[in-house]
Symmetry: C2
Subunit: 689 residues, 2 copies
């Protein structure tokens, strides 16, 4: 592939779609997803972003809606389409056939119309072995070759066949133009080995593995085996199960096949995607029990209408022409499926997690995610700046934040709740020297560069978050960002992860930062810039009355330009063994860095002991905040210059991190220089009582 192609993936949030996205990105394609989410979740896209380390444009659009569909083609230079979107439940299709025909056929027609209008010629279509119907009605058609006469036995299959006909007719109308690959799937199972994405059916699962998984995790009582009186080796019907990752790779093979075709040589051709090996229901049941490590209860019930005895693919055509064949067996699929099921027992539908969008138009890029929702301790985080937007203790907010992304995008910023980086706090005159090279950053704070300069991490949309609920009361949200070399004036391509871990039971929020740089070494110093106001419960607009204690009086001396002199001095502030400093209406004012460890050189402090650095209490609201960190320094700021919608002294910030301007201080320098192959790391904990 000479240039990076963009593939529009319809239904890309779904089971097969999401797995195909992984393979597409791995193969160097850009992806744009369109999905109406009628049977899927945006969560899969957020996870794909973290898994694939790239932003994936997402459109919450129904293919039947011509206008927004046209917008997608206008806003993106699409090179090809993989078309998964469609209703797919066989049983349901027999009950509400009109909806199936309407959704699947009209959606495809609108898609093709847009492809025609915007000169997009390549399409890989997600068809199904269902188009064959009962292939056993013909002699010698098991395994099923593509030449087997079609004859679907249900509306779902009819819609797939009708779309195949539409593609054939459209190809015939312009044979030099269209390149269509029709992929007839056999039975996809399994999940991505990462355990991050998998099949997440809404309602009662129609398919064998999701159903067994729900039985195994206790959500369903027992598996129904529909008939054990078929003429097969164990009486249950035979299907050709194919690992979804193999299936996803089949799409890449088909797309590359289309990509490789000469201009002016169109094609419209069907390929079976199957393993060629049939397994009975009992055989898959056995493999799944082995993966789970226990016997899953089942009951044999009567045959299900429309089921046929054997659907096994003859996969020779795909092997010969697409150079593709399955590599993973049923046992692997069961193992991967079980990993997915156990790590995500409720799929993407986590209780205690809410997603909001900062505009009415469901702008998925600007998401607010609440973890621990409706509990006594909940945090809301935003993609923008991986920001801590809100933190509620017993239902009352204790931090400053905006209720929509736009609030954070004003020209002035006070970094409320933001992830600050690459380099938190000041760099004197915005200058530093590294590996013999001189760097000049944009000055945004007096004569200095503060918090990485304008447009830094706080103003970037992070990938993800990947939200999980690993155990009761614990929620995690992982954001990721790739800050390319020079993108924010710093050297080297930096990948950072911001990992929020909320513990509802201990009312503590841990924030972990990691970073890896490639190409060049970089200065790094990350922190979270939350402003706390423990008075908000009382409806008070200022921090007045808050009692403050810190771990140390030792502080970095700065000159008139707030540049460290290199000396450590003592400041007038209460330590833990002293009577707390009470914050008044205007005094005392703090905007100072304190130092708990003077000579740290660690680039990754995460393995260090978390140390309590600040304790703040409001005797009236009775809320106490403790800030703990693995970092050697912390900055206390009483918010005297608060702006961007907030009033001075409406909140105070405690920003753990490395030493101020360390990059320009020979004795501190090592603690902030991240070299390739090293890992930057730090931890902060906000704990409430």
């Amino acid at each position: 592939m000479t240039k990076q192609q963009t593939v529009l993936v319809t239904g890309g949030a779904g089971y097969i779609g999401s797995h195909t996205i992984v393979e597409l990105i791995e193969n160097g394609y850009n992806c744009v997803i369109v999905d109406n989410l009628c049977n899927s979740s945006y969560e899969s896209v957020a996870r794909l972003e973290v898994l694939c380390k790239t932003h994936i444009p997402f459109y919450h659009v129904d293919l039947c809606d011509r206008e927004p569909m046209e917008r997608i083609f206008k806003e993106n230079k699409i090179d090809s389409v993989i078309h998964f979107a469609g209703l797919k439940a066989v049983g349901e299709s027999t009950e509400i056939p009109l909806k199936y025909y309407h959704n699947n056929i009209l959606g495809t027609l609108v898609l093709l119309e847009m492809m025609q209008r915007y000169d997009v010629e390549k399409l890989v279509f997600s068809s199904s072995a269902t188009v064959y119907g009962d292939a056993t009605r013909f002699p010698d058609m098991i395994p099923i070759p593509e030449e087997c006469p079609v004859g679907p036995t249900n509306p779902y299959g009819q819609t797939k066949l009708a779309i195949e006909k539409i593609l054939a007719d459209l190809y015939n109308s312009e044979k030099e133009t269209w390149k269509f690959a029709i992929l007839r799937y056999f039975n996809p199972i399994g999940a991505h080995p990462s355990g991050l994405i998998g099949e997440d059916p809404l309602g009662i699962p129609n398919n064998l593995l999701p159903y067994m998984a729900q039985v195994a995790t206790g959500r369903r009582e027992k598996l129904n085996v529909f008939g054990n009186d078929y003429d097969t080796r164990d009486g249950t019907p035979i299907r050709d199960y194919i690992h979804v990752v193999d299936l996803a790779k089949g799409h890449i093979a088909a797309l590359k096949y289309l990509d490789a075709r000469q201009t002016g040589k169109g094609i419209c051709r069907e390929w079976n995607l199957g393993s060629g090996k049939g397994s009975t229901v009992f055989e898959v049941y056995r493999a799944f029990c082995d993966a789970v490590g226990e016997e899953i209860p089942y009951v044999v019930t009567g045959r299900r209408a429309g089921d046929v005895i054997n659907l096994t693919a003859k996969p020779d055509r795909a092997k010969q022409e697409l150079k593709w064949q399955t590599e993973l067996d049923v046992a692997t699929a069961c193992k991967d499926n079980w990993k997915w099921a156990t790590e995500n027992p409720f799929g993407y539908q986590l209780k205690g997690v809410k997603a909001d969008f900062s505009t009415h138009e469901e702008q998925y890029d600007a998401r607010f995610i609440t973890i621990g929702a409706d509990s006594k301790f909940q945090a809301t985080v935003a993609n923008l700046g991986a920001t801590l937007v809100d933190l509620k203790v017993d239902g009352e907010s204790v931090v400053l934040g905006h209720n929509c992304e736009a609030g954070y995008l004003t020209p002035d910023t006070c970094y409320a709740g933001a992830t600050v980086g690459r380099y938190a706090n000041r760099i004197a005159h915005g200058k530093f020297q590294l590996d013999g090279e001189k760097y000049q950053l944009t000055i945004n704070n007096g004569v200095n560069c503060n918090h990485g300069g304008p447009g830094s991490f706080h103003a970037k949309r992070f990938l993800g978050p990947l939200v999980q609920n690993p155990s009761k009361g614990i929620f995690t949200a992982e954001f990721m960002l790739i800050d390319e070399d020079k993108e924010t004036e710093f050297p080297g391509s930096l990948e950072v992860h911001v990992f929020y871990k909320l513990n509802v039971l201990t009312k503590s929020l841990e924030i972990e930062y990691t970073g890896k740089v490639s190409g060049k070494a970089t200065p790094i110093n990350m922190t979270n810039h939350t402003y706390f106001n423990l008075n908000k419960l009382l409806g008070k607009g200022t921090i007045e009355g808050t009692e403050l204690q810190v771990a140390t009086k030792k502080s970095v001396e700065v000159d008139k330009d707030t540049i460290p002199t290199g000396k450590i001095i003592e400041r007038d502030i209460a330590t833990f063994d002293e009577k707390p400093t009470v914050l008044g209406e205007k005094t005392p004012e703090y905007d100072y860095s304190f130092v708990t460890e003077e000579h740290s050189k660690d680039i990754d402090t995460r393995s260090k002991k978390l140390q309590l650095v600040t304790k703040a209490t409001n005797p009236e609201s009775k809320v106490t905040l403790e800030v703990l960190t693995t970092e050697p320094s912390f900055h206390v700021y009483t918010g005297d210059w608060l702006c961007a919608g907030f009033a001075p002294r409406e909140g105070f910030a405690v920003e753990p991190g490395r030493y101020v301007d360390a990059i320009n201080q020979p004795s501190w320098k090592d603690s902030v220089i991240l070299k390739p192959n090293e890992t930057y790391g730090s931890k902060i904990v906000y704990r409430f009582s």
Copy 2:
């Protein structure tokens, strides 16, 4: 059929649809038409109204548009649907397949969705023998039975088959509910024997007979015979041609079959509609030449892609189950087609005819039709009141009229251009006696009933018009109205026709009235109430300066209540041999009836000689109007009480008719009493120079 059922006919303005409407109405069904007119014309609906003597609600709606479709189901209590609407050109479908799939399938899905929502369970679907594809690929499948495996060879056929599958799947989802008759047409040809409706393809005809007709009428050079090297008796392919009237009757048979089914017993079944007899192209060509009476030029060209050798129906199933079979042969079809073609050489697309709608929403019931459009003499007529809305001489209007229907529907009326009836002019005290019965009409003019009373013909929407262009420069527009017994307080059910005949060459407009009553005898006296203003060319708002001459000074004497005394007196007005009376700003005022023949008893005057009764000239504009009539009297009115948007003396009217209040005058009575089995008739001519 116990109650009159309402059938929604989709595509009812089209070829087969319009012929089916005739049969439906003949069989006692009400019809509602929905058509997007993309390949048909509203003219066919206007003609159907006159042909079927009934109003046919029409919706200019695309089936794909859910909202207006829902309105149709809301506004009408639909009992069943006959679904013709669809794109149908095989060749075009191979070029723009997406449009075919979109239009045909989505339209059907929306229709079915509405049927589901509004509990309409019966549908007759217009399918096609095209679904069989090449039936000769199987042994023993000619003639083709319904059991023949399907396999369309073009997108058009694919859409028909897809719809058949949709119907089958929908039926399977609710077997107790749905009653679907799928009719697979063979080759419809011919036209209604009236010559009023027929096949009117836009662009180059795809079908044999319309093409031959266009060759015969000189619109096309010669017929192309696509291949004479097929293995048939004369080398040309064999088709099963079926007269469109037979085909239409097949729909009635199918609908009655569905109607007769028990509640709770659904059905979805296919029936071939064909004759069972195949004809070659040359055989049909021969029959058509015989009908035309001359040899039509043709050329044999190569075979056409997708054509199959033989498509002949096995019609046994329809015969046995629907009790239907063809009755008309190919020769009859050719004869009827030729009548249609010669009487309508440009189908419904007449040059010199324009249709406008009085609102922006294309309210077809409120049509304004211009005949002689863009010529030196053009008339615009409206459905409402069969009104003469405008008459333009050399491009300038010479009559008073409104530019939209709403102008005519104000509470006051001056009858501008209207057809006046049942009884034009006054009936003393609104009373009359007929066949021993006494009638009292609503008083709307002093103590009298004038012009039939309120809500009479001038305020009724007439059926049609049926517009024709029988020879160069001649245009006709025929309106019809059925005024039921007592509907406007008069006795007997009266059917009237208003026949406008415009002669562009002689600048004359003839208006002919006919009436037939059933049940009871009725008084009748019809006229046209146009106000002329020969000054409009000069931009003058009044009739001032118009010079008037009439045939006689003899006039009906009236008392203070404008009731005739029975005496004939002479009035001061110039006759043709005198110096004209010049109409001034306010005088002379006329609102008098003149009498050219004192003792006429004729109920039908049409065979009488047209007599010049009034001549009006404007010396400045140099326009002269002559009013001629077969009627014994004429009323002259100088418009001194003009209202409804017009100013006093803005126009003058000359209203030929029977004697004023004749119904109450023993010596004149016979001339206005129309008895059952008699025909009322009269003629008026407006001639300009």
